[in-house]
C-alpha cells in the first residue's frame, strides 16, 4: 500500500527510555513497547531520532539533524504511525467556517448578479412589471409553493448531522420554523380558484424540480454545502424596497406586485410569508450556522466554489422557467394528470 500518511511534524506519544540491556523502550499509558533499530541503523542514531520526534520538526529537519537519509527516517516513523503512536505536531491546514463562507458568498454574489438578477425573469419583474402577464406573478407564487411544499425533502436530510451537536440543534430549529410555510402561501391562491387539493394533483415545472432535487441531493451528500446555500434561498432580494403606500414591501417581487396593483388577496399571503422569514432572519441562517463550523480544508472549499456555479445556474433557471412557462396565457396555471 502506498504510504500517504506521514505526519508533517511527527510527534511520538511515548517516552523513550533505555532498558536494562540497553534496548530502546517506548513507555505509553498502555504499557511498554520494546523497539529495535531498523537494519543498518545504529542504536545511537535510532534513539536520537526517536527523541527528536517531538512535533516540532519536519521529516526534512529530522534528516538534516540526524544525518540519516529520508528512507531510514520513514522506516522508523511509518510503523509508529500505524500503531497509533505518532501524532502530527503541525497545525492542521484549514480556514475558519465564517472565512470560508465569506469567500463562497463572494462567488455567489457575482453569480447572482450575472445569472439571476441579469436574467429575463428578474429584469422584467424589476424593470417592466406592467408588461408581464399576471400569470407570471401567479406562477411565481405557485412554483414557490411547490418549493416550500417539498422543502422538507432537503431540510430533513440534515436534521441528523453527525459532526456537531450545536449545528444539529440549530438545523432542527430551522426545520421547525420552516414547517408548514407552504400553508401560509396557500391562501394566496384562493382568488385564483386553486385549492390545496388542486395543488396536490399538480406538478411543478421541471426547472423547479431541478432545484428541489439538486438541493435534496446535496443535503444528503454534502450537507455543509447545502447549509451554505440556505442564505441565498432564504435571502430577500432588495429587502428595503418600499411599497406604494410607503410600507416595507419585504422584497422586490412584492414591490413589483404593489406597483402593478395586483389583487391583495394574492399578494398579502405572499407578504405574510416574507414577513415570517424576515422575523426569523432566515437570510442569515447560513452565517449563523457557519459561525459554528470550526474549520474547513482548502480542497473542500475549492469544491464548494465549483458547486456554487451549479447551484446558481439551477436557481436562475428556477426563476427564468417561471417567466417562460407562465408568460403564455394559453398555458394552464396548474399542470395535472388524470388521477
Amino acid at each position: 500500500m502506498p504510504v500517504n500518511f506521514l505526519p508533517v511534524k511527527p510527534f511520538l506519544r511515548a517516552t523513550v527510555r533505555i532498558g536494562e540491556k540497553g534496548e530502546a523502550e517506548l513507555h505509553t499509558p498502555g504499557g511498554v513497547l520494546e523497539v529495535e533499530a531498523p537494519e543498518g541503523m545504529g542504536q545511537r542514531d535510532f534513539l536520537r531520532l526517536l527523541r527528536l520526534l517531538d512535533g516540532s520538526r519536519t521529516i526534512d529537519d529530522l534528516e538534516r539533524e540526524t544525518g540519516l537519509d529520508g528512507e531510514a527516517v520513514r522506516e522508523v516513523v511509518e510503523p509508529a504511525v500505524v500503531w497509533g503512536l505518532v501524532d502530527d505536531g503541525a497545525v492542521p491546514a484549514a480556514s475558519s467556517g465564517p472565512a470560508v463562507l465569506s469567500r463562497l458568498e463572494d462567488v455567489l454574489n457575482r453569480l447572482l448578479e450575472d445569472l439571476v438578477f441579469a436574467g429575463p425573469f428578474w429584469r422584467e419583474v424589476l424593470e417592466r412589471p406592467e408588461a408581464l402577464h399576471r400569470n407570471v406573478f401567479f406562477g411565481f407564487g405557485l412554483e414557490n409553493w411547490f418549493f416550500l411544499f417539498r422543502e422538507n425533502e432537503f431540510d430533513s436530510a440534515v436534521l441528523a448531522l453527525a459532526e456537531s451537536a450545536e449545528l444539529r440543534a440549530m438545523l432542527n430549529d430551522f426545520y421547525q420554523e420552516e414547517h408548514r410555510h407552504d400553508d401560509i402561501v396557500l391562501r394566496a391562491f384562493q382568488p385564483l380558484g386553486v385549492t390545496r387539493d388542486d395543488l396536490l394533483r399538480a406538478r411543478p415545472l421541471p426547472t423547479t424540480t431541478a432545484l428541489i432535487k439538486t438541493l435534496s441531493w446535496w443535503a444528503r451528500t454534502d450537507p455543509l454545502f447545502f447549509v451554505a446555500t440556505i442564505g441565498v434561498l432564504e435571502g430577500r432580494l432588495d429587502s428595503d424596497s418600499d411599497g406604494p403606500d410607503g410600507r416595507i414591501a419585504y422584497d422586490s417581487f412584492l414591490a413589483a406586485c404593489d406597483r402593478i396593483g395586483l389583487d391583495p388577496a394574492f399578494v398579502e399571503p405572499m407578504r405574510a410569508h416574507a414577513r415570517v422569514n424576515a422575523g426569523h432572519d432566515h437570510g442569515s441562517v447560513s452565517r449563523e450556522l457557519f459561525a459554528r463550523v470550526p474549520g474547513v480544508d482548502a480542497e473542500t472549499e475549492r469544491r464548494w466554489h465549483d458547486k456554487a456555479h451549479l447551484f446558481v445556474e439551477a436557481y436562475a433557471a428556477f426563476f427564468n422557467g417561471i417567466l417562460e412557462h407562465y408568460s403564455d396565457p394559453r398555458r394552464p396555471l396548474l399542470r395535472t394528470g388524470d388521477l
Binding site: 506519544r13 504511525v81 492542521p92 454574489n109
Partner: protein
Amino acid sequence: MSDFAGFRRPSLRPGVRSGPTQDGGIEFTYLDGRRFVEFEFDAGRAERFQDFVAVLAEGGLSAAELGAAFPGSPQEYGEMLAALDEQGMIAEAEEAAEGGMSGVSAYAYLRRHADRVRAEVRSPLVEALVDGSVTRGQLIGYAVEYWHITHLCPRALAPALARDDLGLPVWEKLMHFYMTERNHDRIMEKSLAAVGVPREALLRAQPLPATMAIMASLGVYAYNFPLALISTLFPMEEPEPEFLELFRLRCAELGLPEGFVRPIVSHSDVNEDEAHEAVSLDLLADFPYLSTETVRECAKAVADVIEQRARLDAEVVSWYGAGGELRDFGHHGYPTQAGKALTCAPLTSLA
C-alpha cells in the same frame, strides 16, 4: 441584515472599492459597480470616517474593537455595516480554524482510544475457546454470524459511495474497498456448506442482535457520518491470529471438517493480505483537518463497535449454547429458552 455578533473580525470584502464622493462622502462599489452604496458625513467628521473605512478594509480588528473604533453612535455603526452588508460588501477576516487535528493525528488518537476500550471488555467466546468449553454449535454459530457480516457488508458500505464531501482520493479508496468486500459471503458459504448449512437457509436466517447492531451502525455511518465508518474499519478488520489458532484447534478437537475451517482462515488471510486494518489510516490521512468534536464522535463510534463485537461474542455463546440453532424463524419455532439466555445476559462482555 446580518448578525454582526457572528463576525469575529468584520472587514470590507476584498474587491470592494471605496472612494470619496464630490460632496465629501464615501462611495463603495462592488462587482464592477453593479452594487454600490454611498454615505454622507457631516463636514467635521468626514476625515475620521475615512480613517475608519481604512481600518475596516484592513480587517485587523475584532468585532468589539471595530465597534469601539467607529467615529459615531452604536446605532450609526450598525446602520453603516448593515448597509454595506446588504450589498454583500462585508466579509469575515478571521482565517484561523478552531482547534482540530489532521487525519493522521485523529487516527493515532482513535487507535490509542481503541486500546483503552479493549482493555475494558472481555469476550466470552474467546474465554470458551481458551478453556475448551466451546461447543460445536457455538463454533458453527460464530461462522453463521461471520457470514451475516460479510453478506451485509456491501449494503452497509454502499451509502458512503454516494457522499460528495470526502474528496476524490477518499471516494476512490472507498470504492476500491467496496469492490474487495463484495462476494466475501461466498467464502463463508463454502465453510457452512461443509457442516450442512446451505446458502438458502442462511438467506432466510436473522442475525443475532449484536451482529445487526454492528452492521446497522456501519450502514448508518455510511449514510450520515462517513468519517465514523472510516474510523471503525480498523477495529472491524484487524487480524486476530491468536483467535484463529485457537478456533482451528477447537474445531479439530470437536471433529469439525477441514472444509469448515479452511475458508474461515482463508478469509482472514485475504483481509490481512489486502491490509484491511490499514484502510482507516490510509483514508483518514487524506483529511487535512478534522474538528475536535468530529474526532470525539468518531472515537465514540470506535469504542461502540469494539463493545458490540464483545457483545456479539457473548451472544454467540449464549444463543448457540442454549439450544438456539440457525435463526430461521419462518421455518422453525422460536426457541424461547435461547432467546432468554440471549437477552438476559446482554452486557456480560463488559468487564
